[in-house]
Amino acid sequence: MKMVSAVIKHYRLDEVRKALLDAGVQGMTIVDVKGFGRQKGQLEVYRGVEYEVTFLPKVKIEVAVPDERVEDVIDAIISGARTGEIGDGKIFVYDLQDVVRIRTGKRGKEAI
C-alpha cells in the first residue's frame, strides 16, 4: 500500500476530488498548509511597508491506495491540479505500513 500526498492550489481542489472519484478512490483527507517551493514567496505592501511573504497557502491532500492503483491516482491528481503555471505543487508517494478500520477492526488493503 502507498500513501499518496499532494500539495496543490486551493482552487484546483474540487477538480482533483472529481478526478480521484473517477479513478475509484473511496476517501481522502485534506488539510490547509503553508509553504514554499521553487516559486518562493511574494512581495506584499501594507501602507507602503514591503513584506516578503515567504509561505504561501496551499492545500494538502492525502490518499491511501493499494499498490496497483498508485499510477492511476497520480495521473488523476495531475489531471485535476495541473495549470502549467509555477506553483502547481508536488506529489509525494511513500510506503504505507498498515491501515485499520476502527469500526470493524479490519486491517490492511481491505480497510482502505
Binding site: 506584499e44 505592501v45 501594507y46 501602507r47 507602503g48 511597508v49 514591503e50 513584506y51 516578503e52 511573504v53
Partner: protein, 431 residues
C-alpha cells in the same frame, strides 16, 4: 463617621434632584434637536468603528486587546465627562484656560438651551460633545498597539482626557483664549485630531517599539475588519462634522457634502499614489486614504466650498501618504499610524482654513488667503502650534508618571503571547 452620616441627605439630594426642568420648550427647535441627537448617535458609532479599524490591523493574538482600547473608552470617558470633563471643557470660563467646576456632575445642565447651541437642550449639546471626548483618546491607542498594559491604558485615557482634551476643548470651543484669538476649528481638527496625533507620536516614542520591529513582519491579520471599521467611521463622520453645525439646515448640509467629497478625493488620491509608487492599488490604502481625508476636512468642513473640500482631500491623500513613509525613515513605531493620519491630517486641515475658508459659506467663520485675508493663516498656525506643543508636553508628563508607577508596557513573555490571553484571558479566534 457621624459627620459623613449627616452629609448623606445632602449627597442624596444632589444625586436625585433633577437638573432637568421641563420648561424651555419654546426656544427649542425640534429639527435642530433631532439632528443633534442623531449626530450624537452617529459619532458614538465611530468608536466601535475605530475598534474594528484598528483591530484588523494588528496580529491575531492582539485583536481583542486592540478592540478593547477603543470600546472601553466609551465607558470610562462617558463617566469622566458627565462628572468633570464637561464642566472643565464647557463650564463657565476661568481666565480663558479652563472651565470652572460649576457644572460638576452636570449640575445645572438641563433641557434649557445653552449659549453654545441656543436652539437645542443643553443636555443634547453635552452628550454630543461627550462622543468627541470618547473617540479622541481612543485614536491615540493606535500608536502603542500590541504592547500597552491595560491598567496603564485606563489610567492614561483618564488623565489625558482631563489634562489634555478638556483644556484644549475649552480653549477652542468653550470660550477659551484661542477662540478669542479667532482660531477656527469646525469639528475638531485641532481639538480631536491634532491633540490625539501629536500625543500618539509622544506615546509611540516613550512606550517604545514592538518587540521585533521592524525586522519581523507585522502584517494586518484581518483587513476586511479594518474596511468595515473604515465604513463605520465614514458613516459616523457625517454626525461628527455636519452635527458640528449644532443646527439642522444649510451649514450642516454644506459640512456633510464637504466631508463626503474630501473622503472620496482622498481615497482616490491615495490609491493612485500607491498605484504609481508600488504598482498596485490596495484596499488597505483605500481605507487609510478615506480616514486621512475625513480627518483633514474635519476642521474646515463648515468653512470651505465643496471644490475646496475636493482639493483638501487630494492634499490629505498625498501628504498623509508621505507622512506614513517618514515613519520608516525616522524609525519610531507608531504601529497603526495615529500620528501619520490624524496628527498630520488634523494640522493640514487646520491650516487649510487659513488658505481656503470663505465667509460666503459660513458668515460666522472667516476668509482665508485666497479670499483676501492672510491674517487667518497666522491665527491658525498659532492655534495648531500651541495645541501641538501643549499636547506633546502634557502627554510626555502623563506617560512618564504612569511608567514610573504602574509601568506602561507588558513584559516580554506577555508581548510574545499577545494582549488577548495575557491582559484579558480570552482569544479572538478558535480555528
Amino acid at each position: 463617621m457621624k459627620g459623613f452620616c449627616r452629609k448623606i441627605p445632602a449627597l442624596l439630594a444632589f444625586i436625585l434632584t433633577p437638573s432637568v426642568a421641563l420648561a424651555a420648550e419654546g426656544r427649542i427647535d425640534t429639527g435642530d434637536t433631532t439632528w443633534l441627537l442623531v449626530s450624537a448617535a452617529l459619532v458614538m458609532l465611530m468608536t466601535p468603528g475605530l475598534a474594528l479599524f484598528y483591530g484588523g490591523m494588528v496580529r491575531r493574538k492582539n485583536v481583542l486587546g486592540t478592540i478593547m482600547h477603543s470600546f472601553i473608552a466609551l465607558a470610562v470617558i462617558t463617566i469622566q465627562w458627565i462628572l468633570i470633563g464637561y464642566t472643565l471643557s464647557f463650564g463657565p470660563d476661568v481666565n480663558g484656560f479652563i472651565g470652572s467646576l460649576a457644572w460638576f456632575g452636570l449640575k445645572g445642565v438641563g433641557v434649557e438651551p445653552s449659549s453654545y447651541a441656543p436652539t437645542v437642550p443643553h443636555l443634547a449639546f453635552m452628550i454630543y460633545q461627550a462622543m468627541f471626548a470618547i473617540i479622541t483618546p481612543a485614536l491615540i491607542s493606535g500608536a502603542f498597539a500590541e504592547r500597552m498594559k491595560f491598567s496603564a491604558y485606563l489610567l492614561f485615557i483618564l488623565l489625558w482626557a482631563t489634562f489634555v482634551y478638556d483644556p484644549v476643548a475649552h480653549w477652542i470651543w468653550g470660550g477659551g483664549w484661542l477662540s478669542k484669538l479667532g482660531v477656527l476649528d469646525f469639528a475638531g481638527g485641532i481639538v480631536v485630531h491634532a491633540t490625539a496625533g501629536v500625543s500618539a507620536l509622544a506615546a509611540a516614542i516613550i512606550v517604545g517599539s514592538r518587540r521585533g520591529y521592524p525586522e519581523e513582519p507585522m502584517t494586518p491579520h484581518n483587513l476586511p475588519m479594518t474596511v468595515l471599521g473604515a465604513g463605520l467611521l465614514w458613516f459616523g463622520w457625517f454626525g461628527f462634522n455636519a452635527g458640528s453645525a449644532l443646527a439642522s439646515g444649510g451649514l450642516a448640509t454644506v459640512a456633510l457634502v464637504n466631508t463626503h467629497t474630501a473622503a472620496a478625493s482622498a481615497t482616490l488620491t491615495w490609491i493612485i499614489v500607491e498605484w504609481l509608487r508600488y504598482g498596485k492599488p490596495t484596499m488597505f490604502g483605500a481605507a487609510t486614504g478615506c480616514i486621512a481625508g475625513l480627518a483633514t476636512i474635519t476642521p474646515a468642513a463648515g468653512f470651505v466650498t465643496p471644490m475646496s473640500a475636493l482639493i483638501i482631500g487630494i492634499a490629505a491623500g498625498i501628504i498623509c501618504f508621505m507622512g506614513l513613509k517618514a515613519k520608516g525613515k525616522i524609525g519610531y513605531d507608531d504601529s497603526l499610524d495615529a500620528f501619520g493620519v490624524h496628527g498630520i491630517g488634523g494640522v493640514l486641515g487646520t491650516l487649510s482654513i487659513g488658505l481656503l475658508a470663505t465667509t460666503a459659506i459660513n458668515p460666522g467663520g472667516a476668509n482665508g488667503i485666497l479670499y483676501g485675508n492672510a491674517h487667518q493663516m497666522t491665527v491658525q498656525l498659532i492655534g495648531a502650534g500651541v495645541v501641538a506643543l501643549y499636547s506633546l508636553v502634557v502627554s510626555v508628563i502623563i506617560l512618564k508618571i504612569i511608567d514610573w508607577t504602574v509601568g506602561l508596557r507588558i513584559d516580554e513573555e506577555s508581548e510574545v503571547q499577545g494582549l488577548d490571553v495575557t491582559q484579558h484571558g480570552e482569544e479572538g479566534y478558535f480555528f
